[in-house]
């Protein structure tokens, strides 16, 4: 969509925080996969319509508008949830023993769910007729509306889907990391880098970039300190972009 959404990380955070509330009031973690997306849809649709849509084409303005939203969401979270990071109990505290190494069951489950989601997304974008509309609108908005696509609706849908995905990420991440109102900030830059290095518009690229980035970071963290490992992968990403400015895979 051409928008750098600085509030994307905060939607992820909102997903996690809402999960916390679902768990503490309703007692069931898995319910949040149903409840939270609904809430997020209700929040992100008006966000796109009233805050982002006016700035189409003015990239720096829309970016700053999302910064404004980011401030607002973070402060609301701070005010309601509080500044102290809290934990959610592991919803599947089993561990598998595979070839002598223990794998936590929940994380394995998260990996499976993520693969399913990605597969679903890929199917949607490449195999359904609505997916074609989305891709057409992204490639050439004027042309798309000229041939009768309701571009505005597509934009809202895409944005909402992106937000829901972010929130689901937050839901799944909640039991693993601590839930805090600052969660979004850590993740948002990684998210942008992964998308850019993978290549804008390429799902495959994003996936590969994400996997490689995390594996690399994991490996580096065993030799360097975590902060250094993080900095190191950033440097590697810069080098990758120097060699291939358009990202690894392009549409």
């Amino acid at each position: 969509m051409g928008i750098v959404n600085m509030a994307h990380g905060d939607i992820y955070m909102a997903g996690a925080i809402l999960t916390f509330y679902v768990v503490s009031t309703l007692g069931n973690f898995w319910l949040s996969l149903v409840v939270v997306p609904v809430v997020i849809i209700l929040i992100s649709a008006p966000m796109e319509r009233f805050v982002l849509r006016p700035y189409e084409g003015y990239h720096s303005s829309s970016m700053i508008a999302t910064v404004g939203i980011s401030f607002i969401i973070q402060q609301i979270a701070l005010g309601t949830y509080g500044g102290i990071p809290k934990k959610i109990t592991n919803p599947w505290p089993i561990s598998f023993n595979f070839l002598g190494v223990d794998y936590p069951g929940y994380r394995f489950l998260v990996a499976c769910i993520s693969i399913l989601i990605l597969a679903g997304l890929w199917l949607f974008l490449y195999k359904t007729s609505y997916g074609i509309l989305v891709r057409a609108s992204m490639q050439d908005r004027e042309m798309a509306s000229a041939i009768g696509i309701n571009v505005n609706q597509v934009l809202v849908t895409t944005f909402v889907m992106g937000s829901v995905l972010a929130a689901v990420g937050g839901i799944l991440a909640a039991p693993i990391n601590q839930v805090s109102y600052l969660m979004g900030n850590d993740i948002v830059l990684l998210c942008f880098i992964v998308v850019i290095v993978g290549g804008l518009g390429s799902l495959k690229g994003t996936l590969i970039a994400a996997l490689s980035l995390c594996s690399l970071e994991g490996m580096m963290a065993s030799i360097l300190s975590p902060t250094q490992a993080r900095a190191a992968i950033f440097v590697i990403m810069i080098i990758v972009l120097m060699r291939r400015p358009q990202g690894l895979f392009t549409e």
């Binding site: 700035y55 970016m63 830059l189 942008f192 902060t227 900095a231 810069i238």
Partner: protein, 321 residues
Amino acid sequence: MSMIFGKIVEKRPIVFYVAIVFLLLFLVMGVTLPKGARSLVIQMMIFSILGMGYDLSLGFTNQCSLGHSVFFGAGAYGVIFSIMYLKVGLLPSLSFSFVAGLVFAVITGVISVRLSEAYFVIVTAIFFAVFHLLAMDMTWLTGGDDGLSIQLPALSLGFGKLSLYDPLVNYYFVLAFLVLSYLILDRIVKSPMGKVFISIRESEKRVQFLGYNVFRYKLIAFILSGMFSALSGGLYALTLRYGSADFFSFHWSIMPVVWCLIGGLGTLVGPWIGAVIMSLFQYYVSAWWTYYLILFGIIILLILRISRKGILGYIISRRLT
């Protein structure tokens, strides 16, 4: 026979007058304001320099960088290291800031400037992240989060010595640099090179097909932008007598963007307006509501709604129509 370059004369005086008004106000406030307010204004002036530097990048060549905190931090540590280890005087330490800005801007610029818009934004953001992480990690060098404090040398001018510990001296020292920076940047922007910058902003493709090596010009604008941002970092370190890894944080990358967009992009003086509004806001509102950042966000959204080019941009466009 001399032609006036484009009769954007309608546009020029307004920005110019606004600048004069600001500078006069700043001049007077130095002696009339109480201590607390005065140090707030010093901050506003420093932020104005940072904002102006950033405007050169975003407002004049349409390069939306998120990595300017690197220059701000580099400038601050340029001052701190040169005073701590090289024992230089006050003015020389600021030249170290300037040079630090140059060096870092060249390094980041050569890599980022050739990239297209969204990629540029994110790569500059990566640079911010790298340097921020390194600054926080290398506490032996930077003091990490806690930072390093310095003892300020005296400011030796031809006719005697002044100490920046005197708040009045500090104030007018910063004001002098604001004026100087404005004059230099204004000259640059109105020069032939500045006009080329503006044409790049208006249509990069077109300028390329007029024979210009666009990359070179964008890089120069980026480097100049970094140098003045570093200068503001140096002044900030001098005023606080301190610098920390926090000077590399995202706050210093994103605030200049906010100041420019709120105050008016591409005007040099717009960021002054943005910095003043935001600083006042932060100072007063944070006192009665902890969650003042919510209002921060709302103000940003409101002002951007009214005019994408910020307050000054709005005023100018009203005058032109």
